[in-house]
Symmetry: C2
Subunit: 243 residues, 2 copies
């Protein structure tokens, strides 16, 4: 299956952009009558037939539409500070998109290495990972948000803060896979390379966040964010019939 | 804590190599009387006192030794074909070392992108990840091994093969986190970018392997290998007292 991304697709007809037309006609050598799949990144999977194999503006006709294609049974927001090395953050965007995430919330924290975040490369990485892993839902990359603003952001679900300091709540830290339940929407805040400040942790806890641990290993911030993403997927196992 | 790696350390005295001496004395600005930790990568954590802060051959004296430092309660062999893009494989070595793995077994498979594997860079990545994540056990990077030889390799534990093709055994595929039990030693074989061949899958199954799935997502080979590594860690949750 060849998946193309067209957020602006308006069935029944669509004309691919120059780059994708070239990929479709020159690289994949598809001709009129050939089939491709297109997603709008909002869950719609369009099966299309090529009506004009023009290598610069390939036109297709939607022959069938599948809504909510492989919709995740849960919502997951991964909130993490962009890493000092941009490659590490882009790596996270790619891997978490493959595993399954609803939105990325880049955090500007007290110990953040970067206070400016250019989303362009990240957006490209997310789109490429979505297409490569044949997903019809494209994770949202939110703008860099100050920590407190991110904590106060309305969110329908449970909110967790993962940090390396000793627990600051009387309940102590829960192990994410033990506390998260199937189907629950979750926002997981991951500490930056210098971890969250005690004030940040207390502010989150005072605003309804739950303290969690991802285990006893010392993980890099981008590794921790991906581990949390995998843990959320393990809490929502595939249906037997899908295996 | 500053962790140094010295596979050849012979207590009570040890002299750091030129690079680590420079890091210790010039970069960290540690002086005689200062403390550092050294691991031999075999589970021993040595707390050492600097006796000679020579920036080219810093000498230390072991003041205390902790054996089996943070030993994993399970053994995990991750067997995967080196990716076409070496960075992706090195990324896996780093991340899986952080999360926890016993040994990496690079596979030479029917659909492998690479039939030659130079371990030097990978070894460096593993050592750096071990030190960065403060581990005293260094994962072993085995040589590139032909698939059938890898299947026939003696292994004390359960052996799993993860592939994207329909199940080829009457039992079908199990979901790794459902079938793996805490404390079990496991070897997980991950399909290459072109997946395992039907013959390879059948050969593994005929030799005691169990078919597994890591879920319904379509994961890149290096992502799948890391996901399996995280799943094994989730199956072996931390003790309450460690949280």
């Amino acid at each position: 299956m060849q998946l193309f991304y067209a957020p602006d697709i308006m069935p029944p007809l669509h004309t691919l952009g120059e780059e994708e037309s070239k990929h479709c006609v020159r690289v994949l050598r598809l001709r009129s009558g050939g089939r491709i799949h297109i997603t709008d990144g909002r869950g719609n999977l369009f099966c299309c037939e090529i009506t004009d194999d023009n290598p610069k503006r390939c036109t297709v006709r939607v022959v069938s539409t599948e809504e909510g294609f492989e919709k995740m049974p849960y919502a997951l927001t991964v909130a993490v500070a962009p890493t000092k090395n941009p490659d590490r953050f882009e790596w996270l965007l790619e891997k978490a998109t493959e595993v399954g995430v609803t939105e990325f919330l880049p955090l500007d924290t007290a110990h953040s290495e970067r206070h400016v975040f250019k989303p362009l490369r990240g957006e490209k990485v997310i789109t490429a990972a979505m297409k490569q892993s044949l997903k019809a839902y494209r994770p949202t990359l939110l703008p860099l948000t100050p920590f407190r603003e991110a904590v106060l952001r309305p969110f329908e679900g449970r909110r967790f803060i993962a940090h390396c300091a000793p627990a600051r709540s009387p309940e102590g830290k829960a192990y994410l896979p033990d506390t998260l339940r199937a189907g629950e929407a979750a926002a997981v805040f991951i500490g930056p390379e210098g971890d969250f400040s005690p004030e940040e942790i207390d502010f989150a806890l005072a605003n309804g966040f739950e303290e969690i641990t991802l285990g006893t290993q010392r993980l890099r911030t981008e590794t921790a964010a991906l581990v949390a993403t995998v843990m959320a997927s393990v809490v929502n196992p595939p249906k037997r019939r899908d295996l």
